[in-house]
């Protein structure tokens, strides 16, 4: 991996390789997750479907067809209390282009055009296009309810992080988005270029130098003033909260939010990752082998660690009637991990499994790109190999200690039917 400084708070990471048939380039831009989230969320929608050079998406898509079906995508997500907007382009590697076309460089230039040179109307964006993209974003926000797992997770987060920036939806709020003017979005775009922490990540056999120079020239026109991004880590939990809602469903969704006691994203991160994995990661985990396989309570029940916020989220799809049974068993399984009641086999299975999947990231341009672009806010970039070394250095006792610090914070149950009892005690 090669690293280049492009501008203040902007860097480019290149992973040169000719083992793939495609190349990929991603630009990720991070800003604090705050009250301006809705305006920023419109940006990837607006920017990835057109630019001054290709002013509508039919023209843009025809150009992408000419670039051998190159595909462009834009999105917004959160990492800790940062809102990250990103755009990616995947294209065939130059070796497979006909007539010596330089696909990769053309794609990098296209991506830069889309970020720096959008279609404008004076010092703003065209109203009809912004209206169209706002409409699409609102639909995406509202459609979250179609995916009940995601919806229930989001509700749990809203309750658990009510007093923290983490509760802000990175997609924005529907009514806020509706109220945005083209000027609001334009201002958010200018602010993003000026203040975001930015990383451009490239994977493929293309020449890196021209791309570095091109982005340097583009950013040289901007007066950079990167904003500070901080995430709040909460290490003490009062009495766990319980909220239940209903919806006409076939299957109930149980979401349980835990705090890990981590004080920053690197704090005890490797032992915590293994502890959470033994608790509810792979098929050897407590939740899979006991709650699903032995007790036959559900089709899925798993735990995920979000170390950028220091929390663990457990999710399961169960029958309403099994709610108490499932909750009790999930908590019991966590206490078993914290009591050191897991075998040496489980411990080594976890390290092997996590390491194996991390090393496998090296085998697709998309996963390599994601591995590095996910680190855009880190000063020291870790390779997959270095991360695996950290995992392998962890001992059992560290895992037990990590599990002991995991505390239940919030339980959210989306019931399919029946009576709702609110604020029930745990």
């Amino acid at each position: 991996m090669q690293k280049f400084d492009i501008a203040d708070g902007v860097r480019l990471c290149a992973v040169p390789t000719d083992k793939f048939k495609t190349c990929r380039i991603n630009i990720s831009m991070a800003m604090p997750l705050d009250s301006n989230a809705s305006a920023r969320a419109v940006l990837p929608y607006f920017l990835h479907r057109r630019c001054a050079k290709y002013p509508d998406f039919t023209a843009l898509n025809r150009q992408l067809d000419e670039l051998y079906g190159a595909s462009i995508s834009g999105g917004v997500h959160k990492k800790g209390e940062a809102q990250i907007i990103s755009m990616s382009l995947t294209a065939i590697d130059d070796r497979f282009a006909l007539n010596g076309d330089k696909v990769a460089l053309e794609c990098a230039e296209l991506l830069a055009d889309m970020i720096f040179d959008p279609i404008k109307q004076g010092e703003s964006f065209p109203e009809n296009i912004i209206e169209q993209e706002k409409h699409l974003l609102v639909e995406d926000i509202e459609n979250e309810i179609n995916d009940k797992r995601r919806y229930a997770t989001r509700r749990c987060e809203e309750i658990m992080f009510a007093d923290e920036a983490y509760s802000i939806n990175h997609m924005g709020k529907a009514d806020e988005v509706k109220a945005l003017t083209p000027q609001d979005v334009y201002d958010a775009w200018e602010e993003e270029l000026r203040e975001a922490t930015v990383q451009i990540t490239m994977v493929g056999s293309m020449d890196v130098e021209p791309v570095v120079e091109m982005f340097k020239a583009r950013f040289a026109e901007i007066h950079r003033n990167p904003a500070e991004i901080k995430t709040q880590f909460i290490t003490a939990v009062p009495k766990p909260e319980y909220v239940c809602e209903t919806m006409p469903l076939k299957q109930g969704k149980l979401v349980m939010g835990f705090r890990t006691g981590m004080r920053n994203e690197d704090d005890n991160a490797a032992p915590m990752r293994i502890a959470v994995d033994i608790f509810g990661g792979g098929t050897y985990s407590k939740l899979f082998s006991v709650v699903r396989e032995k007790m036959s309570l559900c089709y899925y029940c798993s735990a995920g660690l979000f170390n950028s916020k220091g929390v663990v989220i457990v999710r399961s799809g169960i029958e309403d009637a099994n709610e108490e049974k499932a909750k009790k068993e999930i908590i019991n399984q966590l206490s078993l991990v914290a009591a050191g009641e897991f075998s040496d086999d489980d411990f080594s299975a976890s390290i092997k499994s996590i390491s194996d999947s991390i090393i496998s990231n090296n085998d697709t341009p998309e996963t390599i790109c994601a591995w590095y672009s996910n680190q855009l806010m880190r000063t020291n970039i870790k390779t997959p190999e270095a991360y695996v070394e950290e995992l392998k250095a962890v001992d059992r006792q560290q895992v037990v200690s990590a599990a002991k610090t995991i505390m239940l914070d919030t339980v959210f149950m989306l019931k399919s039917e029946g009576e709702v009892s609110e604020n029930e005690d745990q």
């Binding site: 051998y68 079906g69 194996d356 090393i359 085998d363």
Partner: protein, 424 residues
Amino acid sequence: MKISEIRNEQLNDVYFDIDHPSGLKILVMPKAGYESTYAIFATKYGSIDTMIQLEDGSFKQIPEGTAHFLEHKLFESEDLDAFERFAKTGASANAYTSFDRTGYLFSCSANFKKNLEILLDFVQNPYFTQATVEKEQGIIGQEIDMYKDVPDWEVMFNCLRTMYHNLPVRIDIAGTQESIAQISADVLYGCYKNFYNLNNMVLAVAGNTTVEDVIEVADAVLKPVEGKMAQRKIIDEPKEVISDYCEETLSVATPQFMLGFKEHWDTPERTTKEEITMEILMDMLSGSSSELYRRLFDMKLINSGFGAEYFTGFNYSCVLFSGESADPKAVADEIKKEIRKFRENGIDEKTFERTKKKLYGRMIMGMNDVDNIANNMVVSYFADETIFTDFEIYKTVTVDDVKDMLSKTLDENYSVLSVIKPSK
């Protein structure tokens, strides 16, 4: 043992086709520079296989969802189940059941030979008891319920159920609560014997491996069995759909739709050329650079979730357009209008050439990931092809082929609009 090399110069790819003495077809693509390996052991047995052929050639019905149930159960054995064995090696293992096949797979970046041994071994050693079958009815029961809340799953099966009178493709892959209740250990053993003989299966491996390593493990673990490739029964299906419209109410924000065009052919399976020609036609008609796509967007009738698929398999083929829309009927009308326009105006040469260029790129992109490659090898083998067939055939498709395809398909008299409406 016969080993042949299959090569494509333009892609600079090569893989090996091995006729193993056990009767199993083995396909291996070693990939230089890759750290991981993906292996899939698959049988030509999916949810559409609802009948077993008996000795006398007649067919016997089996409960819906049996292929999927069997997939779940094969992971178990008398002592350590397959997941426990893979946990010792660090591989990530899984399985899936589709309409026409079942695949057991793992990917790993270490201990490849051990992992392959586990894969071949557990799939060859079924172990079912009435107690373990009953336990699985609970888990799969929850899986079936989960899908009933997933709108894009429901919109598709409602569409297929309204399109087909008799074909088993109308059945949910996991079956129903009622049908899985009829599954017993005996039923599973019967299906296993019929569909899991090595002559009805294929092993495909891609990534950080060699032909020698794969053969070494295969020699040690594969047990030759009696059996042949299972035959599928051709089922009569009227040309007509059951109804041109169906709807269901679920907790969704925006209505979801699927517009399907049923096809009627004299042969049970579509050729590669037909499939590629159809893909070009669909992209020209409704792809992201088409006029229709633009118009639907401008009318705020679709979002980026809009897409089209040529859905084909043994005995069935249909074109499916799907997405989310405030007004599904208006979308369906626009699609039908565009099809009529295409019929009247003919096929534009320039658009055709651009679409082919895109398709060329997309086919190359499909040759990147080891999981894609291995799954492609399975599908191609069951279709009697190589993974490079598409790449060669696409070059031969002409504008006239597309015109000809258009004249045979997308007939609105045989279409179904399936809609999921929001509850409220």
